[in-house]
Symmetry: D2
């Protein structure tokens, strides 16, 4: 008999990103990338895409270096939150409850095998558009402002890890995530893995850190409505002197139309469009890509750029 | 404390559509609309979009008239199927089990308050692409053939009903659907309602039948990846002499970019693109549109065409 | 033997538009429509699209009413300018030379049969981007700023006239324009005419003024690179409370993808995309649309809105 | 005083392409690239895009190798043709008159400094759509069939040459072409040059042949209406096993959105979209790209692939 899929976690809520160039990063995220500020507290600025329904989807925090502060998912209900916390504590990676912040109520923190900090919460703060940001149509969270890349909502993030298989067990065990696609090398080693907790084809990906570091961040991605928005964003980045690492192109894995850039402090940021692709199938079986298949590059033949496997944040310290 | 959302039903699986012009309808759906035939049995042809993972998403059946044969949802698991059947039987609208057909195993049939036939199943037949239809990238079900409007997957359907509120109770009770948007007239009457069982913003809509009939069909919609696919489809329809009822334009409700046409037998068919819009929020509260708001027309001001409220299938018999 | 086409006039240079709400109109053209100011003089502000190579393509002038100040074409050379002036003087509609303004050197003014003021010049002022507006790629005039509808360049304008046939003789005689498409009613009367002096499919159109006025203005159009820019502009207009008259849709005549709005003072403004359509054929024969064909509406069946034939600027005085 | 631009040549008419795999090449051009056959004679098949107004824009000829048969331009009038022939004969590169073929009347042949064969004609054969290909809107040459990449019209071609400066003098002298953009190396050598005879930003480009050969062909390009058509074409090529050399991406030079593939016999073929870019300016001054600027790669940073400078047709014979 078929197992019941787990629906305890509703969606990726937000990530906290560290920057050692807070002013430049904030200017990038607001003016060029097109997020909107909803609040500030301490060294953090809270930001969101125009159709993110919560107070924030990005917490940008001034820090001595770059990388991931934490990644946070919203549970499907209070009861589901407690089921997940029980499962996480059983896995032995729990860190305990927080009182929340400007963006949500209390949350439970836990740690990935590679050391990334995660968080689960249910009580949230929903965004209330001030008059100047009220949309013409009331089914979007904020007016379409058209500023910069004008991204719609947070889509997914990507972590680097020293042991992808351990991360797979972590995501499936702690969040109840499903694996939708994966890279398995000829040696049998899992080199990349794409996960989802809902009908999106992925909300997080984990790939091997070829620099030999632990707990690093690869990128965060916001969704745009159309591929043409990605092409337009490329011109916006170009005209604003933003470093374009690769794209626009179409991923072979997941089929997403993508564009990678670095924000001023060095964190990689993506804009992407998935078209009408969803994973609605309850008994989806992971797609496995072989080493040979990966060597073909992206969907239309673009070779994956070497920095994709080595550039993460924070930067790796040089050994001397 | 928050209620737990219901995830028993995974997604809309297929609809059966009746046609009294079977050859013309089939030619339209394959050559112009861009579905692919996967099998035939009796008076029915089984069809699917290039990324529908099941054997079929449209069963086209020759019949003395037009309209909906039945609408069919796939449960999330065998256990979930039985939970839903128990709920449906409690509602008193169950019709009993079938042995299934070419496209799926046994299914449970039930009836809407307006008389539309529904079906739930879990055992399904997954599409296996023959060599000529194998995709270059193995994460889509079938190669992108580019034929006609080349729609990707079934998206939603729309029913006409004499009592929309009764339909709302039916969908929430039988399928565990959530209401995402609705039209409430000044009189307080529910005139339109949009439902979902997953993260899509809707998989079915019900609107009032201004012709005073019962159990009629309004339209079925397949999703395209981009708005430009809808514009291109408009040219494809134009060049093939297909009747275009309205569009392309953007719906105020749900924000979908849409185009309505009639297939040769008169059933209304839509192609649509939702952009990156999803309902990820577990505690989503229905958006309510007032009578005044609806009078503004569609998103960019296009007035809803009168036939939208009267043209359904089968046609209403003239009283003499 | 074939006649030699006339190439004396290179392109539409700019139009001067009157507004009785100068502040609101300027805010619209800069912040919402996406033009950039290049200078001011007297009651006029000079504006241009990001890839207009000249100092301006729109001269917005505060005035007691709305409508066209004048329309101005650039000649292909100094010699060509003088050939045209000679032809215009022979037609008897010349008004004489001006000393030019901020945007160009001396110009020759003349009058259409309906009373619209025209101008021809060769000496021009080319736009020099200040540092903040320098493009990343030096083959466009100004950086792509992405502000508002972010239109690229002036495309065409449309005049209302009491006698379209007289306007046709005027354009072919004075400017050496070619007729690319036209509407001929069953009565034989010319009801609409599209003209070009170069490879664009049209740079001006003239249609009948059903309000019975003379010398009125119908609309000015700027080109965007993609149809998706037009769809995006529709959202920008919607969110900024701009009145959308009709569209986005595709014209049957000329096949242009279009969207009409009114700027705050009431002048009609269009954003459009022509795709890859050009009139390269030197012996192009005008396409003639009959009354019956026009009743089919636009390309995908949208009926032309009645205000399209009556709303012009300045508004017609009510007779009491 | 300004010189008068030359308008004697109206536009690129067609090219003849050699193939040593005629069946595979024809299948590619019709089924995958989306051209339509209009006739056959001898070893040649005549093909055109759906909005090419002439009988053909591509003459595909079976031959022992690949590369350019000839390139052919249409003059603006009979008189203009004779002015050009006089200029060509003065340059000493004339080859004499032909009787024409299925696609046009008599033509004058001449030779480029590198040995490419050119042709000029005025009398042409206009395409008459058979009933099955009649468009719904009578201002396009043939119905939009949507087959394969469904390209609209011939746009430009590119030649390799041993001496680009000699080719520049040839184009400006023989055809009256204007240089719109060029690459000038630090040594002062002209390494690439883009030309136009009309308002298109280029109709032919010449780049250095790094393989040291003479008279070779680089690619032919057809225009699509939208960038999204290019992205869609990439999927069509992918699914049909066509070799994708590079793209989709945006050229720094000319700003064209492009995609390069090889047809089965090895000739390079491009699909491209120029947006709303036109060269309307009569006194356009060539944009010059330096060696340093070219090292930045394409518009969004993609490095030009090495084969772009070496792969031409016919292939260079190996020296042993």
């Amino acid at each position: 008999m078929s197992a019941e899929p787990c629906y305890d976690v509703a969606h990726l809520g937000h990530i906290e990103l560290f920057t050692d160039k807070p002013d430049e990063s904030l200017d990038f995220f607001v003016r060029v990338y097109g997020l909107t500020e909803s609040g500030r507290e301490g060294d953090s600025v809270y930001l969101r895409g125009f159709d993110d329904y919560e107070f924030h989807s990005l917490k940008l925090t001034a820090w001595h270096t770059t990388g991931l502060g934490h990644a946070s998912y919203r549970a499907a209900s209070e009861a589901a939150l407690h089921r997940r916390v029980a499962a996480i504590e059983k896995l032995g990676c729990g860190l305990g409850w927080t009182d929340g912040d400007l963006g949500h109520g209390r949350s439970f923190r836990f740690r990935s095998p590679d050391g990334h900090i995660f968080e689960l919460y249910y009580d949230t703060v929903k965004y209330k558009a001030p008059d100047a940001e009220k949309p013409a149509l009331k089914n979007i969270a904020q007016r379409y402002h058209g500023r910069g890349a004008a991204v719609r909502r947070i889509d997914h993030f990507n972590l680097l890890a020293s042991d992808v298989a351990a991360m797979r067990d972590f995501f499936t065990g702690a969040l109840g995530s499903r694996v939708t696609e994966q890279i398995v090398l000829d040696s049998g080693r899992l080199a990349g893995c794409w996960f989802t907790v809902n009908n999106k084809s992925y909300d997080v990906a984990v790939t091997e850190d070829h620099a030999g570091a632990k707990g690093r961040f690869h990128h965060v991605t916001y969704a745009c409505d159309q591929r043409d928005d990605i092409l337009r964003a490329a011109d916006v980045f170009l005209e604003n002197g933003v470093f374009i690492e690769q794209g626009p192109h179409k991923h072979a894995i997941q089929g997403t139309f993508f564009l990678y850039v670095y924000e001023p402090a060095g964190n990689r940021v993506e804009v992407a469009n998935a078209g009408a692709r969803l994973i609605l199938q309850p008994d989806w079986e992971p797609i496995t890509w072989t080493e040979t298949e990966r060597k073909k590059g992206q969907a239309w033949g673009l070779k994956t750029i070497p920095s994709f496997h080595t550039h993460g944040t924070p930067p790796v310290e040089e050994k001397g």
